[in-house]
Amino acid sequence: MARTSSRPLSPHLTIWKWGPHMLISILHRITGNGLALVGAMGLVWWLMAAAMGPEAYATFVACATHPLGYVVMIGLTWSFFQHLFSGLRHFVLDMGAGYELNTNRMWSIAATVAAVLVTGFVWLFIFAENF
C-alpha cells in the first residue's frame, strides 16, 4: 500500500485503551493462523503416519507424547476452542446483533473464558483417563 509520509495515519493500537473486544479480535487471527499451520500440519502428519505403517506411527506418537508434544497439543486445543467460541461470536455479529458496548464486552470475555475452561476440561479428562 503506497503511503505518503506527510499524511497523518488513523489512530491505531498506540492510542486506544485495550479492551476484551480487541483481545478476542487479535486472538481470533492468531489462533486461526496457528491452527492453519501447526494444527493442519499435525493432523496430516498423524494421518500420513497411520497410512505409512507402524514405524511411522510410532515416530509420530513419540513426538506427540514428548513433553513439548503435550505443550503443542494443549496449545492447539485452546486455539481451536478460542477460535470456535470467537467464531460463534462472529456469527452473531454477522446478523447485526451484539454491537452494544456492554453486550460486546460481555461476550468477548465470555468466549475467551469459555475457551480456557473447555480446554481445561478436555485435558483433565485425558489425564484422568490415562495417568
Binding site: 493462523n33 496430516v44 494421518l47 500420513m48 497411520a50 510410532a58 506418537v61 470456535l84
Partner: protein, 129 residues
C-alpha cells in the same frame, strides 16, 4: 476506495469483484469445521486406545473415513480463505503478495490431497504389516 459502481452492486460483485462468495464460503466451511472437528475430538476422547491398530481400524470404517475426508476439505478450504485475509492485510508488496498467495494455494491443496490420500489408503488397504 469506494463500494464499487451501482451496476457492480446490483450484480453483487462489489469492489473486490468477487461479491460475497469468499465471505460466504468462509462461513459455510466454518460450520463444517465446527461439526466435523468437534466430532473428531469427541471420537478421540472416547476411543479405547490411540495405538496404531486401533486408529487404523477406526479410520478404515466408511462411517469414519467419509466424514474425515469431508473434514480435511472443510479445514483446508477454510484455512485457505482465512490465511488469504491475513496475507492481504500484512503483505503489501505486489510481488510478495503474489508469491504468498501462490505458496498458500500450494499448501492448502497439497495438504488436503495428502490428508485425503492417507485416509483413502487406510480405508482401502487396511493396516500395514
Amino acid at each position: 476506495m469506494g463500494n464499487g459502481t451501482g451496476i457492480g452492486r446490483v450484480r453483487g460483485l462489489g469492489s473486490a469483484r468477487h461479491g460475497a462468495h469468499h465471505w460466504l464460503a468462509q462461513r459455510y466451511t466454518a460450520v463444517g469445521n465446527l461439526l466435523l472437528v468437534l466430532w473428531l475430538i469427541f471420537s478421540l476422547l472416547t476411543m479405547p486406545g490411540l495405538d496404531y491398530e486401533s486408529v487404523v481400524g477406526w479410520i478404515a470404517n466408511p462411517l469414519v473415513a467419509v466424514p474425515m475426508m469431508l473434514m480435511i476439505v472443510s479445514i483446508f478450504w477454510h484455512l485457505r480463505l482465512g490465511m488469504q485475509v491475513m496475507l492481504e492485510d500484512y503483505v503489501h508488496d505486489k510481488g510478495l503478495a503474489f508469491l504468498s498467495m501462490l505458496l498458500l494455494n500450494f499448501y492448502a491443496i497439497g495438504g488436503a490431497a495428502a490428508g485425503i490420500f492417507a485416509i483413502a489408503k487406510i480405508a482401502f488397504m487396511g493396516a500395514v504389516e
